[in-house]
């Protein structure tokens, strides 16, 4: 079952908690910055996402939405 993760990019504070809890290690910080000046989290290989939602449960700012596709 594949998943799709979307980030509310401009609300992300780049804390990396989602990066650490992703069991597939597919989340990383973007090289570019958002409007806050942080490097926001982004998924590099979306096809490997299993929609486990670990990243979204961990995110302190509730910027992540997870869908099953």
């Amino acid at each position: 079952m594949a998943g799709k993760v979307s980030f509310d990019r401009n609300r992300c504070k780049g804390c990396e908690l989602c990066v650490a809890v992703c069991p597939k290690h597919i989340i990383a910080l973007d090289a570019a910055t958002n409007v806050k000046g942080y490097h926001p989290a982004t998924v590099e290989r979306m096809e490997e996402c299993t929609a486990c939602a670990s990243c979204a449960r961990m995110c302190p700012d509730s910027v992540i939405t997870v869908e099953r596709v």
Partner: protein, 248 residues
């Protein structure tokens, strides 16, 4: 396509002011998710503290009230007694609940007030700049304890879940943490159970959440999680300290 996880409807659209990686945000959404799942968002009243989470009234989508420093349980008592059918909760940090507000929380528990208290323990004063709190660990550095807390001088940190669990009016006391996904799920279960017991009229319910303060601990968010696991959990063990719900 189905949604697996989205932001709780128990939270407003306001952007949280918390520092990057601060787990206050995680605790906020667990309270919001518990209220949402129990259908209580429209009939809940929260009482915000003084401290980092003073702006909690901007973040929860239910009615909110602000209290003077440490007095949230007293304000919640008044609200609950006037509106016994509403879900009333306080959200307090350690500087608020375990220092200036110790009398209020102990007596609210003693009276068995039918409210829920979510207590955030991050072992430091966050908003005011990292001073030593009653929960600061022995040896832990703070701006007012630059060489670390000394037991001879300041005593040992206070364990609130254990303390309140000795009071008969406290029907439920559990300590949880939000530093990883399994613990987040356990924490949500505890908060939900506390609200369910409150609505069943069981008595005072208390959930202590071990939380990180990366900024004032001087660590990155990920280092802070490691520090909490290595230092706070051994001194503040997780678990259920009181469950008198079956006896009622």
């Amino acid at each position: 396509m189905s949604i697996v996880y989205r932001k709780s409807k128990g939270l407003t659209d306001a952007e949280m002011h918390y520092c990057p990686g601060c787990t206050h945000g995680v605790a906020h959404k667990l309270v919001a998710e518990a209220l949402e799942e129990l259908g209580l968002v429209g009939s809940a009243v929260g009482v915000a503290p003084v401290g980092c989470s003073v702006f909690a009234y901007n973040y929860f989508a239910c009615d909110m009230h602000e209290a003077a420093h440490g007095r949230a349980p007293a304000v919640a008592t008044g609200i609950k007694r006037v509106h016994p059918d509403l879900a009333v909760f306080t959200y307090q940090g350690d500087g608020d609940l375990a220092a200036i507000g110790t009398a209020e929380i102990v007596h609210a528990a003693m009276r068995g007030e039918k409210i829920t208290t979510v207590f955030i323990n991050n072992a430091i004063y966050g908003m005011t700049g990292g001073q030593m709190a009653p929960t600061t660990l022995v040896g832990q550095k703070a701006t007012t304890a630059p060489f670390g807390r000394q037991k001879d001088h300041y005593g040992s940190p206070i364990r609130m879940a254990e303390l309140l669990s000795t009071i008969d009016g406290c029907v439920y006391a559990e300590r949880v943490t939000v530093v990883d996904v399994p613990n987040i799920l356990k924490a949500k279960k505890a908060i939900k159970k506390a609200f369910q017991l409150q609505m069943a009229g069981a008595g005072f319910t208390f959930v202590e959440v071990l939380s990180t303060c990366p900024t004032n601990w001087g660590l990155t968010p990920l280092e802070a999680i490691g520090w909490l696991k290595a230092n706070m959990i051994p001194y503040f063990p997780l678990g259920v300290y009181a469950d008198r719900s079956e006896a009622k």
